[in-house]
């Protein structure tokens, strides 16, 4: 699971090792990556909103 999160984070940042990419495509399941991706996108929104709320005070 931690591997999936790391790969999704790398995708958010936009840089990934070729070797890791191949591993993900051989072992991972697409549905897992998509779900984790969506969850972390939501987390990002919440995080940005929190920063905005703190900054607006």
């Amino acid at each position: 699971m931690w591997e999936v999160v790391k790969s999704v984070l790398a995708a958010f940042f936009g840089v990934q090792k070729e070797q890791r990419r191949c591993e993900d495509f051989q072992h991972g399941r697409a549905a897992v990556f998509i779900t984790v991706g969506l969850l972390m996108a939501m987390l990002l929104v919440v995080l940005v909103a929190l920063v905005a709320v703190v900054a607006a005070r």
Partner: protein, 372 residues
Amino acid sequence: MRTLLVWLAGGLSLAGSIQVAMANGWNMPVGVTELSGNIHSLHMTIFWICVAIGVVVFGVMFYSLFRYRHAKGAKAANFHENIVVEVVWTAIPLLILIGMAVPATATLKQMYDASEADLDILVTGQQWRWRYDYLGEDVAFTSNLGTPRAQIRGEEAFGENYLLEVDEPLVVPVNRKVRFLFTSDDVIHSWWVPDLAVKQDSVPGFINENWVRIDEPGVYRGQCAELCGKDHAFMPIVVHAMEEEAFDTWLADRRAAASQEAQGIDREWAMDELMERGEQVYTAVCVSCHQEDGSGNPPAFPALAGNQALLDDRDRHIDTVVDGVSGAAMPAFRSTLNPVEIAAVITYERNAWGNDSGDSVQPSEIAERLSD
């Protein structure tokens, strides 16, 4: 050594030409409010960051093009990925963006904080003038283009403030927070005064907010910044910022004048009084469509001079000016002109330019018509 000197000279001349351009008024003005100063320095911060990025990126690019040119037998390096380089060139822009977002957000917060104002002014855009209502002060007036039509037609030399002058400027105090509420009666206009760092759309059916606290007394000029029809260029803005005491006196005088005009509704007005007032109103409000000599611009803008059908039908004349003509460009003046002004301008139209109906319209008659 030589290349270094070339770079140094190039950098210095770039910075020099930027300074020259700014000194010649090509840059955004610093303005006369604390906020406009902040906006200006934010603008300059972002500008210099962009200049630095441009110099580094293009510098590396041109240096590489020159140093590793084909003529010298350079061979391209064919590698696929390099994690370190990729991380670096992603992280640096990210940090730069965050660095720009912090001051930008701080300034935006300040701009949007229109709370706790000392004075509220409702600014209404109209084709083609601005109307200012000092809310709660019983003072309201329209501010029309002050440049003589003869200058616009090229018959006279241009004045100093050609198309940047009005008959009645907006008057505001210095050192007090003035909140503007923007709306429009017809199409979208935009109230723009660069020295105050305010450019706000006025949209029919919406109220937008903005505010100023002016530091220096003075006259600041601006224009409508949203293409709004034929006379878009003819609805300038002039803001007269006064010392606080002078402003209070001005406001009290305006209030007194307004209540005097309100009393004028009940009395009988003489013909030449109405004609004089009517000519003022006509010149300020009606000329842009009906022309100085009442000749209009048929067929879209009918002539008023020699318009016998109109002279024969006094009621229709009153109705047209009070209610406008829906579906045509003729505005309703029931809420923008007071009864005295409406009565005077109708009387004027019925007796100017060889129209000699001989009849007058009294303010009391219009007041009654308006209360129906």
